[in-house]
């Protein structure tokens, strides 16, 4: 990965840094702050309060959004009336849990909750309506958990009757978290070491996923009209998205950090790709975002001036791409609501993989429902141009690259790290090397990062630095105005060596900043 930056400049700044960091006098390891970011910077958890539904009056103030709503109102009705036609029901046949007249054998009339395997699941997620109708259960069929859903609804409404809201229940080893979102109740029962605020963020993601399929407007209207509505009818197919999202929440640091990882490319290559897309699309009106992703990483993102994308919305888009095999087969036209962008209406997404021989996925998002053919055409042009400039090869090479292990960075003390640039909401981490290459190892590492992240971002008392020595590793988390750094060390590392390693990591990141991160924010 070459860097286009002047390296002398970097060394100069880092020169006498040894022994000073972390949290001595701050030297210039802060990332370059772009003038503008394509992503909303994320600094903290979404707290309960911040997660209140957006104020509709505030939304309507914006002309473009109003336009967006006007157009999408029609399509939201289409979804309600004709679920077969829209993308969300693509895989109805894949689902066995949806239909009421389930073909599953009926002899299992026992409640699943008596089942030891079910009880020992590490993380349960339940969604129900405020009337107690089951909507989703991660493990076990909702139909067999009716009593449990009833109890949860009763708890929520009993405490709600007092003008209070239930938040969480703590037992020795198990945590229960509730999130009440208008007509919907989300609950999580987990035996992990996650905190209430972290689980709340996850439940918010799950809720966003549902809004993304239905829009908030439709969701609200359904329950206004019929409090007892069985939402599963509309969410057919979305269960798979929720399942996939929950796995992503458990396994990907991106969702923990509220950031995205970029596909490492030299800045000239990335700019060339960006310019190609811009040149093919800048004539198309109402195109809001063009997003190119590959291997769950962002290649480039081009946006309509005025609009920026929230990382949480981008995570939903990535979740859609990652959980839909069908996009690989043919170009698709699918409605998607991005809750942070506008929870009240749909955007329309033209989704397609670049080519048989290039597995990067291009999403063109518009407010205009009639734009399928122009976008399809634009996509063909983009692919042709990219191919001619052998940029497809560059993308393929980057995708095929096994990733940089931490050993290549010359920091033997560190086993792994995550670096997040706060201003651009992007992060980078090396590929896991032993002892984290196994799935248990990776899980433990992410658990350790979660502990660090929680403590550093604790709503009551955020911290600047946390150094935690545990039996399996020593963890260091450090937050400055520009970046967040989380490092896993050998358990017996000395503090001097740890600090030395941190400095080396920061210097390395600084050197490769332009390849690892998208530092500009291109527009159409």
């Amino acid at each position: 990965m070459a860097s286009s930056r002047n390296e002398d400049d970097v060394d100069d700044k880092g020169e006498n840094a040894e022994g000073k960091h972390p949290e001595g006098n701050l030297l210039n390891f802060e990332p370059e702050t772009p003038v503008e970011s394509m992503l909303v910077p994320t600094d903290n958890f979404d707290s309960f309060e911040q997660e209140a539904p957006p104020d509709p009056t505030a939304l309507q103030g914006d002309d473009n959004l109003a336009e967006c709503q006007k157009i999408t109102r029609n399509s939201s009705e289409t979804v309600a009336e004709d679920p077969e036609k829209n993308g969300t029901s693509r895989s109805m046949s894949e689902l066995s849990l949806v239909s009421d007249d389930s073909s599953e054998p009926q002899h299992v009339d026992e409640e699943v909750s008596n089942n030891a395997e079910w009880r020992s699941q590490e993380k349960h997620v339940f969604i129900l309506s405020s009337a107690g109708k089951p909507i989703y259960s991660r493990h076990g069929s909702e139909d067999k958990l009716v009593t449990l859903f009833g109890v949860m609804q009763a708890l929520v409404s009993f405490i709600g009757d007092d003008g209070d809201t239930v938040r969480s229940i703590h037992t020795h080893g198990t945590l229960f978290v509730f999130l009440i979102k208008g007509p919907i109740i989300l609950a999580c029962v987990c035996k992990t070491r996650e905190s209430v605020s972290q689980i709340t963020v996850q439940l918010n993601y799950v809720y966003s996923q549902i809004v993304s399929v239905l829009t908030l407007e439709q969701l609200t209207r359904i329950y206004e009209q019929r409090r007892n509505y069985d939402l599963r009818r509309l969410l057919a197919g979305a269960e798979r998205l929720v399942d996939h999202l929950l796995i992503a929440l458990e396994t990907q640091p991106a969702l923990l950090l509220g950031a995205v990882q970029c596909l490492p490319l030299t800045s000239t290559t990335r700019d060339a790709i960006t310019n190609t897309i811009v040149s093919c699309c800048n004539k198309i009106k109402n195109l809001v975002f063009a997003i190119l992703v590959g291997g769950n990483q962002l290649v480039t993102l081009i946006r309509m001036r005025k609009f920026i994308l929230h990382p949480a919305d981008l995570h939903l888009i990535l979740n859609l791409v990652n959980s839909s095999e069908s996009f690989k087969a043919a170009e698709s036209w699918t409605p998607i609501c991005l809750p942070k962008f506008n929870s009240r209406g749909f955007l329309h997404a033209h989704v397609s993989y670049l080519a048989e021989d290039c597995q990067a996925c291009l999403l063109l998002l518009t407010v205009d429902p009639d734009l399928f053919f122009p976008l399809s055409e634009a996509k063909q042009k983009i692919v042709e141009k990219l191919r001619r400039a052998s940029l497809l090869q560059s993308i393929n090479a980057a995708l095929a690259h096994p990733g940089t292990p931490v050993s290549q960075l010359g920091v033997p003390e560190a086993r792994h790290f995550l670096y997040k640039c706060k201003a651009t909401a992007q992060f980078w981490g090396p590929v896991p090397a032993p002892p984290y290459q196994t799935s248990e190892g990776a899980k433990r590492l992410l658990d350790q990062y979660r502990v660090l992240h929680h403590r550093l971002h604790a709503p009551s008392q955020p911290l600047k630095l946390l150094y935690l020595q545990d039996h399996a590793e020593t963890m260091l988390g450090w937050i400055t105005t520009g970046f967040e750094l989380y490092v896993a060390f050998e358990p017996l590392v000395t503090k001097a060596n740890a600090i030395g390693a941190v400095n080396k990591i920061l210097r390395w990141i600084k050197k490769d900043e332009n390849g690892l991160f998208i530092t500009n924010a291109p527009t159409f």
């Binding site: 022994g19 000073k20 960091h21 972390p22 949290e23 001595g24 006098n25 309060e49 909750s113 009880r119 349960h124 449990l148 109890v151 949860m152 009763a154 708890l155 009993f158 405490i159 003008g163 209070d164 809201t165 239930v166 938040r167 969480s168 229940i169 703590h170 037992t171 020795h172 080893g173 198990t174 229960f176 029962v189 035996k191 070491r193 209430v196 502990v451 403590r455 604790a458 709503p459 009551s460 008392q461 955020p462 911290l463 600047k464 630095l465 946390l466 150094y467 935690l468 020595q469 545990d470 039996h471 503090k495 001097a496 740890a498 600090i499």
Partner: protein, 462 residues
């Protein structure tokens, strides 16, 4: 930050679901409810909710204790001290008014309440109750539900009236004992007195020796001493000192003793010429060989206090107290002066240059030491900001959660306080340092220095 409403005790109740299982008889489940004037309907509703929560959590994890319920406005802590019996403490979450976009906005500060602290406070209520009354099941064995309800009501109404919730902190998690370090000679004098006392008065089963509010010697099991110490320090001794201040430490008017001495019974007869032996509390000890009930006789001279535990089967007469007084009076007065002299020498311990403050706790002997707290009165007189003090309890909760045998955590807060937590062989050590431009290594050095000066003989893992 000005709190609009502070943390307070909303409800406190004890129930047993095995009683009153028929519909309409739910009230029988309730053994105690605070505030007592709460209407029965509210009482039943609260107990019902707790029962529902416990049952609901049981669906997912059998045999794991249910600890707390967080709601927007309350924090409810659950404790099951004995099979079937649940104690519940409901706290109101403190609030502040914040101005957001020109509009007053009430914010509930749920994070102000740390579960581990208030759970310990709750557990302490039970331990204190059972020290003086015995366990719930024992009371039921010996008498009936009415008696249990009566005992709970009479003990808890006094206890809860005095409970200080707002300034509860890490020390409430430990409920530790402050020891008084003495030089070898003085310590041997104390031990000699205790041994001589126990030989001369075989009725005395256990003895504890305190100087001011610090423990010098204890023959009790640590668990029992911990609760007894809490009672002495927080309730008996302050009352004694107040009464001594008012009357002055007068020598006994009795002429039958040749030399002056300042000894008197803090629990026992106030006047040895009288046949009235006064009210002597009984304590229920848990430690050692099963549970035992003992008379608690306390004798004081100057700042020294001797607690003597005597089997409840022994009947106490005034003659016994007279003999005790003769035996202890002069000896204890002399010993108290000796300790006082030594304390005045050693009290000028070198202050730590860096201004580092620390809290230390040893799980094995329940020893606790704090320079974070400026006095022993537990009313928020502390040398570090309250939000920094909270971190100590967080670090403790984290240690207890992960249960490592050794571990170290270092944090730096937004306002440049460093907090270091160390756990090593059941010893916990927390240091607070305020140094803006220090780095991790310098802080590490500071902590090392502090360990060397304060805890020379204790090994802390690096």
């Amino acid at each position: 930050m000005a709190h609009d409403s502070i943390l307070s005790l909303k409800y406190f109740y004890i129930f047993n679901s095995n009683y009153g299982q028929k519909e309409g008889e739910e009230a029988q489940k309730i053994l105690y409810f605070y505030p007592p004037q709460t209407d029965l309907d509210t009482q039943i509703k609260n107990v019902g909710l707790t029962e529902a929560i416990i049952k609901f959590t049981d669906t997912f994890n059998s045999y794991q204790k249910c600890e707390s319920l967080h709601t927007l406005k309350t924090r409810q802590l659950y404790f099951q001290p004995e099979e079937g019996f649940w104690m519940v403490q409901v706290l109101t979450v403190p609030t502040v008014t914040k101005v957001k976009e020109g509009v007053d906005h009430l914010e509930y500060q749920s994070d102000e309440i740390q579960d581990n602290i208030y759970w310990s406070v709750l557990e302490q209520v039970y331990r204190s109750f059972s020290l003086f009354n015995g366990t719930f099941s024992k009371i039921l064995e010996e008498s009936d539900l009415t008696k249990l309800r009566y005992k709970l009501a009479s003990y808890l109404s006094k206890y809860l009236a005095k409970i200080r919730l707002q300034h509860a902190d890490i020390l409430d998690v430990f409920h530790g004992i402050q020891f008084l370090p003495l030089d070898k000679k003085t310590f041997l004098h104390v031990q000699t007195l205790v041994n001589l006392l126990e030989c001369s008065f075989p009725r005395v089963q256990h003895t504890a020796f305190l100087y001011n509010d610090q423990l010098v010697w204890s023959g009790l099991e640590p668990d029992d001493m911990q609760v007894l110490y809490r009672y002495l320090v927080s309730s008996l001794l302050p009352a004694q000192m107040e009464c001594e201040l008012q009357g002055g430490p007068m020598p006994r008017q009795s002429t039958s003793f040749s030399a002056l001495h300042y000894g008197r019974f803090a629990s026992g007869p106030t006047n040895l010429q009288n046949t009235d032996i006064g009210k002597i509390p009984k304590v229920h000890l848990r430690g050692g060989a099963g549970s035992a009930v003992c008379h608690l006789v306390i004798y004081r001279a100057l700042s020294a206090t001797i607690c003597m535990l005597i089997d409840e089967a022994v009947s106490l007469e005034i003659e016994f107290f007279q003999r005790l007084d003769v035996f202890l009076g002069q000896r204890l007065t002399k010993l108290a002066s000796e300790i006082a002299e030594q304390c005045s020498h050693s009290s000028s311990t070198v202050p730590v240059e860096s201004g580092a403050k620390f809290v230390y706790y040893n799980q094995l002997n329940r020893a606790q030491k704090s320079t974070v707290h400026l006095d022993n009165r537990r009313n928020g007189n502390i040398s570090v900001p309250p939000d920094v003090l909270k971190i100590l309890a967080d670090l403790n909760a984290d240690f207890m959660d992960r249960k490592p045998s050794t571990g170290e955590t270092i944090v730096k807060t937004m306002n440049d306080y460093w907090v270091v937590g160390k756990l090593s062989n059941l010893r916990e050590f927390y240091v607070v340092i305020h140094q803006k431009n220090a780095n991790l290594i310098e802080i590490n050095e500071e902590v090392k220095k502090l360990c060397d000066s304060q805890f020379k003989s204790i090994f802390f893992n690096e």
